[in-house]
């Protein structure tokens, strides 16, 4: 069970920042329609800076652990910094190779983050193709 490295399972079993924010600046939900995994992200922001984060979601260990791992890095980041997080970074966080069939599971967190930030700026959401990038 290489893919299910201990830290992935740990984040899956004990997700960080998985809570409801009282007065979020923005809340946005995304789904991986091919499997039904969901993540809803809430951010509390000030001067284009992330102050607090809370999320909820349902799905496989990869999608949920990745969101938990990503959530640990967001506080204090500016919108621009958060928007510039690349897909490679999520793969680094997971630390194990994720096959093409599970790429969207791994990147659901990033897709949700980017579209939450876009929603905060009243910009249209980006497509999965933009998040995943041309392979």
């Amino acid at each position: 069970m290489d893919l299910y490295a201990e830290n992935i399972l740990d984040h899956y079993r004990h997700p960080r920042h998985k809570s409801v924010l009282k007065n979020p600046t923005v809340t946005h939900k995304e789904e991986n329609v091919s499997c039904g995994d969901t993540v809803e992200l809430s951010l509390s922001m000030k001067d284009a800076k992330i102050l607090e984060i809370g999320w909820s979601g349902e799905g496989c260990a990869i999608s949920q652990a990745a969101m938990s791992m990503l959530s640990e890095e967001l506080i204090g980041k500016t919108t621009d910094e958060a928007l510039s997080i690349a897909t490679d970074h999520i793969h680094e966080l997971l630390g194990v190779p994720v096959g093409p069939r599970r790429t969207k599971c791994a990147l659901l967190c990033l897709h949700t983050l980017k579209n939450t930030l876009r929603a905060a700026k009243n910009e249209p959401v980006q497509s999965w193709t933009e998040t995943v990038g041309e392979q």
């Binding site: 069970m1 290489d2 893919l3 299910y4 399972l9 091919s34 499997c35 039904g36 995994d37 349902e58 799905g59 496989c60 260990a61 990869i62 599970r102 599971c105």
Partner: protein
């Protein structure tokens, strides 16, 4: 007669490496004889059909029409020209939805069941979008069989057509088609059977069933991808407008218009999947050589054994009927605390291949109240030992995951 599963298995080159393939409901593996038949076609008969008079064109046309006759026998159809070759079951269903649907108007209704695959839902929803027709859904009992009063209720609204699967690709439920078709006809409703999941597991006799249309895919009956079949009663097919336009489907073309070719070519525009038709013929002959009843009996043993094994694992919840006599092809289940995708990946690493997800049946999954499930499905080449191996790996995954 003794069913020699090891002898069956040896005919499937892909299985020789010891993989435990429990995903035949998605697509079956192909025996050597099918691969060879296609190879032989390409190495000795390949030419376009219907378009030439040279010897190869003749040989290819004969091979293609022989395939049609084999399918005719497989389905018990009255005429070979009632067999239309398509790309797959999906295209066969679309053919009916797009042609039969053209004459429908706003007040008309189409009936479906909650067991349907997206392939037998979306073409009708597209028609709803275009024509504003109404779709009525036949509901389910808790065990996944169709609800009798819902059948009566939906049919009493006199839908123009009922499109119904023969076997659920999630719960495995076998549908009492003959009975339902009789009731539908009594209400003036035509019936299209989606036999994609049924064709490899049950003898089909379209004249005995009296269905009006029936669709299946070659790749789920040990044949190649890229070939499917629509059966339709001669009169109905003759009355339908044309589907795709192009070469082969016309009698005459002028600058003003065209006249359609006779059946079956009326619905076969463009160069068809000739080698794949030859492969499908070989696959059907392969099934016949074992006997579909013998295959079905073997599979029932496998499903019964799987049900028994799964029910001993307390974290596992089986979703469909728990009686192997009531199901064919597959069993779906959930495992407490492990998402189906994780489970499938863990088992895949052990060489055990099953399917996870909504299996193209979102309305059914909504009805069951689950987003995704895991599914095992069986075929002629699976063994009791594979079911045991699968059950053992599930137990291992549960204990490793929960530690």
């Amino acid at each position: 007669m003794h069913y020699d599963v090891e002898a069956v298995r040896r005919q499937f080159p892909i299985l020789s490496g010891g993989i435990c393939y429990l995903d035949s409901a998605a697509t079956s593996q192909k025996p050597n004889i099918v691969l060879r038949a296609m190879d032989t076609f390409y190495t000795s008969q390949n030419a376009n059909i219907n378009r030439g008079v040279h010897a190869l064109a003749e040989a290819a046309t004969v091979a293609f029409e022989d395939a049609r006759k084999t399918v005719q026998r497989f389905l018990g159809a009255k005429h070979a020209h009632e067999i239309i070759f398509t790309r797959n079951a999906t295209e066969a269903i679309n053919l009916v939805a797009k042609t039969f649907g053209r004459s429908l108007a706003q007040k008309d209704r189409i009936a479906l069941t909650l067991l349907e695959h997206h392939s037998n839902i979306v073409p009708w929803l597209q028609l709803k979008e275009e024509k504003n027709i109404t779709i009525d859904w036949i509901g389910l009992e808790t065990d996944g069989s169709l609800n009798e009063s819902s059948i009566a209720d939906v049919l009493s609204k006199k839908p123009k057509l009922l499109a119904i699967t023969g076997v659920s690709n999630v719960l495995g439920t076998k549908i009492p088609l003959k009975e339902i078709i009789k009731k539908a006809h009594a209400n003036g409703t035509l019936v299209l059977v989606d036999a994609a999941q049924m064709a490899a597991h049950e003898k089909i006799d379209v004249q005995d069933l009296d269905c009006d249309f029936l669709a299946f895919s070659g790749h789920k009956v040990y044949g190649p991808t890229g070939i499917g079949v629509l059966y339709g009663k001669e009169k109905l097919l003759n009355d339908l407008p044309t589907f795709l336009g192009g070469g082969d489907m016309i009698q005459t073309v002028t600058t003003d218009g065209f006249t359609a070719a006779e059946l079956p070519r009326k619905f076969e525009a463009g160069t068809p999947a000739i080698a794949e038709a030859v492969g499908l013929k070989s696959a059907i002959e392969w099934i016949d050589s074992l006997g579909i009843a013998a295959i079905a009996e073997h599979e029932e043993h496998l499903l019964a054994h799987a049900l028994e094994k799964l029910q001993t694992i307390k974290e596992v919840k089986v979703l469909g009927p728990k009686d192997a006599k009531k199901i064919a092809s597959c069993i779906s289940f959930t495992v407490d605390g492990i998402h189906p995708h994780d489970l499938t990946q863990i088992l895949s690493e052990k060489g055990v291949y099953l399917r996870a997800g909504h299996h193209c049946t979102q309305p059914l999954h909504n009805h069951l109240g689950v987003v995704a499930t895991s599914r095992i499905s069986v075929a002629a080449y699976n063994t009791i030992e594979e079911i045991d191996r699968f059950a053992t790996e599930i137990s291992h995954a549960i204990s490793a995951w929960k530690k």
